[in-house]
Symmetry: C2
Subunit: 451 residues, 2 copies
């Protein structure tokens, strides 16, 4: 498989998907190595991961270089690499808290004396997207390894270069190389991986998720999905316009909108609409492409060529149906072989436009007015998988609006929902462990049930 460079448009890298036989053998080896790994102490696993962190620190420059070529952008790459290197310490601290505080469960049956143990899954397969390639490849892998699992990661075939550096970092550390593996491939490899692993963690688009579920259902193997949803912002009449426009524009345009948490539309109270729109357009027009110099500007290239087509199609559909562009262009711009999308503010937007229905992962910002917040609660664009950023003068008012909107994540006077991404959360360990319940020294024979 040839891999395109998102800045030059050239196919300058090649990956070699594994045969099913090769994949099977890798997983057999991982499963065997996991037998020892899970029996090590937590401290041993922490020490191993910290040794790896050190090895990776030495290859930091190569990692930045590879990831920058993969994604065509620099600033976000630096954030990703720093996140990865710092996250190891944080995960190790959390692992101590998690594993050294045994879970207590009390039964309502007085004679039942329970003890809870956790058993790691043997081999966890992770299928990760191109939006933040390093971040997603690592977010689940580190807590899974600390939990005692072996891990095999298949990154997006659009952004595979960075994994070479990770694999190189294992060279002198067989204790981690034996239980942590990266493979390349496309949709077929994903399905084969789903068949062979004990659990699949998938981050990406709904359609690929359905293919994975179809395969996983045959084995009834568990699947963990982190899917996209539509994320919106709501700006009430009392909101601070400067604050709201700056935050929302960042939530829309950071990483050129290529984030499953990016803000995809804004609902603004009619009474402040004109002020809001003029400040938003003014700020959007100040943003610049990171072209020709990758170190300047804010908006990098669109990583996926399919995504370029999709953005152009959504814009054409909206314009045909009457939308008016107040900032940005009618389509992505071709520059030096790559494609770039301007922060694009649209008005006269109607629910029939695809832009409001499909996750667009681009810095497209349709602005829609409302008069009563109940109108918003009804709109189709909202479902529980999404998130909403609410801007209002007071916290109480914002919380009342939040009450009406049925979404998974809300942020108040901020776009922190977009920044929740790099969150290291102790609950994540539960994904990699099976709960084993032991019932010890019970007294059921006293119930006269036994024969």
């Amino acid at each position: 498989m040839n891999v395109k460079n998102p800045r030059t448009g050239e196919f300058d890298y090649e990956i070699f998907p594994l045969s099913n036989e090769e994949l099977k053998n890798i997983i057999i080896d991982l499963r065997e190595a996991q037998g020892e790994w899970k029996n090590q102490t937590l401290q041993f696993r922490i020490d191993t991961l910290k040794a790896w962190q050190k090895a990776l620190e030495e290859q930091k420059e190569s990692l930045i270089e590879a990831l920058t070529i993969d994604t065509g952008r620099k600033l976000e790459t630096l954030i990703e690499v720093d996140f990865l290197l710092n996250s190891v310490d944080e995960w190790c601290d959390l692992a101590k808290v998690f594993f050294e505080n045994p879970v207590k469960e009390v039964s309502t049956i007085p004679s039942l004396n329970k003890e809870i143990q956790f058993v790691p899954y043997q081999v966890i397969g992770m299928v990760t997207p191109s939006t933040f390639p390093l971040f997603y490849a690592i977010l689940d892998a580190i807590p899974a390894l600390l939990s005692g699992c072996a891990v095999i990661v298949k990154p997006s075939e659009l952004t595979p270069r960075f994994t070479e550096v990770l694999v190189n970092s294992f060279t002198e550390l067989p204790q981690i190389g034996d239980i942590f593996s990266f493979i390349n491939g496309g949709a077929e490899t994903v399905l084969e991986l789903t068949k062979l692993c004990d659990k699949i963690c998938f981050t990406g688009a709904n359609n690929s998720a359905k293919d994975i579920l179809r395969v996983a259902n045959e084995s009834l193997n568990p699947v963990d999905l982190e899917l996209g949803g539509k994320n919106i912002a709501i700006v009430s009449e009392t909101a601070e316009i400067e604050r709201a426009t700056s935050a929302i524009l960042w939530g829309s345009a950071f990483n050129a909108g290529q984030s499953c948490n990016s803000i995809e539309s804004v609902y603004v109270h009619r009474n402040i609409y004109h002020q809001f729109l003029s400040r938003l357009v003014g700020k959007a027009n100040l943003l610049e492409f990171t072209f020709p110099n990758i170190e300047n500007g804010q908006i990098g290239p669109v990583i996926s060529e399919k995504q370029v087509e999709k953005i152009n199609e959504l814009l054409a559909d909206a314009i045909n149906k009457g939308a008016v562009i107040k900032a940005g262009n009618r389509e992505c711009e071709a520059l030096g072989g790559g494609y770039y999308c301007r922060p694009t503010v649209l008005i006269n937007v109607t629910p029939s436009m695809k832009l409001l229905k499909e996750e667009h992962l681009a810095p497209l910002l349709p602005v829609i007015t409302f008069f009563n917040v109940d109108e918003i609660a009804q709109i189709n664009e909202i479902n529980f998988e999404g998130s909403v950023a609410i801007f209002a003068g007071g916290e109480q008012e914002a919380l009342q609006i939040a009450e009406k909107i049925n979404v998974q994540r809300v942020s108040i006077n901020d776009v922190a929902i977009s920044a929740l991404l790099p969150e290291i959360n102790i609950e994540r360990f539960n994904k990699f462990l099976k709960k084993k319940t032991l019932l010890i020294n019970n007294q059921l024979e006293k119930s006269n049930w036994w024969y």
Copy 2:
């Protein structure tokens, strides 16, 4: 659909599966009523459920009668009805603990200020089996209702009679009748329900689960599965033989083996094999059918006619492959129109026999010897979804054996795994609630990220 009486073999009851249109309308009504129900206080929901409990108490005799006809057995019916009536109070107490102690989550990002809220699913569909019809129809329904969901239950088409009494108990209590519904039907109704509800909770066989998953995948709606697994007993050289045989026989033959937690085979240390076998056979031969008098004996009829065929097939397969029956018969016995299966102890059992591979839900007890417990850890019959009862002289020895066996539930010197069934566990509330995270008054603008 005509429904057979498991004691008489007569089709003496009829159910009328709903049309898709009717089902759709019921769910629309439930969804509307749920809007009010979820906004009530917890105390209101508790009071409503306790009023229902009282109404049901008055119809206890009718409930026992209907459930006894459904299942053909009396003792287990009394246990189920008492469980139901007592469970309401316990769930209400747990709900107070669960909902009045807000969940705290601390972020590793210092500026992220989090608040966690829980949002009930609107309409939960429950598909429940014939093994303990009342128990499974109610186990999830009560905590789901307390959580603020509306609930629609489709019981097994083999045992639908008892739901009539439940529906009657709503007559004077519209506040519960509006958000709690029972419907009849077969596999098609299950799939339609899966399409229409916001979450499906299924208890039953793996094959039906796969059909449900196939439909749920289209909508990506969540599914909660409680599936069967193979449950075994392990008896070490040091075990008390009297205790082990009494407990294991009960774990195998209670409810005529029709329980997803019933013990389906025993592994006994070679050095105590003969003593163990003779005590087990002796005790098994003392058990009697509840025929002709339902009040006498321990072993009721097999509820499902398909199950009778399955039992006969598994026994024939085992006998053909060399198994020897030491207690019980070569097939189910036809008595008065019903079918009954004797507690059946088999030896000379080999791994090729279907008996060891397929969940049999019958009082069939193959006895297999081992010398070293590591032999057992390798056998195919064990998978994590199952459970194991370990009998050993000392707790430490039993825990060491447990360490080696990869199953979800273990009981030590007891068959409490089989009795875990009626457990009322506070964690169950989590199944009916979606977690909503609010991020309040954060300070992301200070990170200089905003545009």
